[in-house]
């Protein structure tokens, strides 16, 4: 068995920094992207996340983690936020946050669920819902560098209107023969929909993902049941578990 063990770092404390909202993009009825300017941002790698901390007028504070959706090449840091029912932070970010507002942020955090062009391909990205965010940072990084590592994105959404970054993904795939974007819609399909329907299953993975023999680098991100299913299917299809990196969005990721 391979043991994952490496030398640890002795970094300075990650400081809380001030983030200023420069732009808010409506992605879907339940999802917005918040584009932030962070002074002295030291950069990140695609797939990493940040912690944000909101402070209310009465001093009440709450912290949450969000994946970075922007690539290191972009001047603004993008966080893509899905409204979680009964949540505390996400409804505020979706409903109340305005351009010009500020809050605290620290990061980047996490060094495992990460891909850079230097890592090469083939790249196999599996997204469920807003789990697309860190994977989008990877695809944008690949695109900004005109990198042609073979890549496939298999993206499961509830309905057509729930697909995040749809136009950008379409445009990306259109100009790039090395990239294949495949959607599946689980709940509702528009009339004339010719794409896949229902949840990702083993047959769809076998048809879309690079075979195990090509040793693709696999990233799976989405709600827990999605990640559990997809990663189990991939192991059953012969992929080495250590090549499958996962990030699960728990139901309480509010």
């Amino acid at each position: 068995m391979t043991v994952i063990e490496a030398a640890g770092g002795t970094a300075r404390r990650l400081p809380w920094q001030r983030a200023s909202v420069r732009k808010i993009v409506v992605e879907t009825p339940r999802v917005k992207s918040v584009l932030l300017h962070v002074t002295d941002w030291l950069g990140h790698r695609s797939g990493q996340h940040v912690d944000i901390r909101l402070t209310g007028e009465d001093g009440y504070q709450a912290q949450r983690s969000y994946s970075i959706a922007s690539p290191p090449e972009d001047p603004l840091l993008a966080l893509t936020v899905e409204r979680v029912a009964n949540g505390e932070v996400s409804p505020y970010l979706i409903d109340d946050l305005r351009t010009g507002d500020q809050f605290e942020l620290r990061g980047p955090i996490g060094g495992y669920f990460v891909w850079t062009v230097a890592d090469g391909g083939p790249l196999c990205l599996m997204a469920g819902g807003s789990g697309i965010a860190p994977l989008m940072a990877m695809l944008r990084h690949r695109e900004r560098n005109a990198n042609r590592a073979p890549a496939v994105l298999l993206y499961s959404s509830r309905s057509l209107e729930d697909i995040i970054y749809r136009q950008e993904l379409d445009a990306m795939a259109e100009g790039d023969l090395g990239l294949r974007v495949v959607h599946t819609l689980t709940r509702e399909q528009p009339i004339g929909w010719t794409g896949h329907r229902g949840r990702i299953d083993r047959a769809l993975l076998a048809a879309i993902c690079f075979p195990a023999a090509q040793k693709p680098k696999i990233f799976v991100c989405g709600p827990t049941p999605f990640v559990e299913d997809v990663s189990r299917f991939l192991v059953e299809l012969g992929h080495d578990p250590l090549t499958i990196k996962t990030e699960r969005f728990g139901p309480s990721g509010a």
Binding site: I4, R12, L54, E57, Q61, S231, V235, P241, T246
Partner: protein, 206 residues
């Protein structure tokens, strides 16, 4: 940073106050049990499961599932705190304390001051022995009276509830004593070497 920016209109949406003194800084209470793992969930049959204790390169103890189940059982009701900000109160676990495991292996005193925990699937995490003894830690096999589900670390996971929950390694397979503290998996990727939630030791340097 000079002054904390205020988010206008942002306030607590908690229906009730979190019990005082039980929720570490930056955490919030959840009733869910979120799953966070770096890779696929290993599916381990108890028939194939073993647990080993390793000291100074030699095997100090090894148990099959059946032998492990015959060790003294302890039930622990405790709060748990995940570095991703959720805390869960009053969780009930059953298993074998680290003290009882040492006893069963015939090791009266821990031979070295640190332990690296090795897991099915390749995960590792490091702990001082002092945080494992004195009833502070167990190898848990049941949650809420039922076998622990694979996604939550079953058939057996470490439980060290006074540290952030990534230290409570899922799918535990082997405990190896070390003379020096060395970073495990998340500790090598920017997370704190020790992980005390009350000191908010989330990341390296905290």
């Amino acid at each position: 940073m000079d002054e904390t920016p205020i988010s206008r209109g942002f306030k607590s949406r908690r229906r009730q106050q979190d019990p005082k003194g039980r929720v570490p800084p930056g955490q919030y209470v959840t009733t869910d049990f979120p799953v966070l793992s770096a890779g696929p969930t290993p599916q381990i049959k108890v028939a194939d499961w073993t647990l080993a204790l390793q000291a100074g390169g030699s095997l100090a103890g090894k148990w099959s599932w059946q032998a492990f189940e015959a060790l003294p059982q302890t039930t622990l009701k405790t709060d748990i705190h995940c570095v991703t900000k959720w805390s869960k109160l009053d969780t009930t676990w059953q298993g074998v304390t680290f003290d009882d495991l040492l006893e069963a292996a015939g090791i009266p005193e821990p031979p070295l001051p640190y332990v690296m925990v090795h897991c099915y699937g390749g995960y590792t995490t490091n702990l001082p022995v002092a945080d494992l003894i004195g009833g502070k830690a167990m190898i848990a096999t049941r949650y809420d009276g039922l076998p622990i589900l694979p996604a939550h670390g079953g058939p057996a996971r470490l439980l060290v509830p006074h540290l952030y929950f990534w230290k409570s390694a899922k799918w535990v397979q082997r405990l190896r004593f070390m003379d020096k503290d060395q970073p495990g998996f998340w500790e090598s990727f920017g997370y704190h070497i020790y992980g005390d939630p009350w000191k908010e030791q989330r990341y390296d340097g905290d």
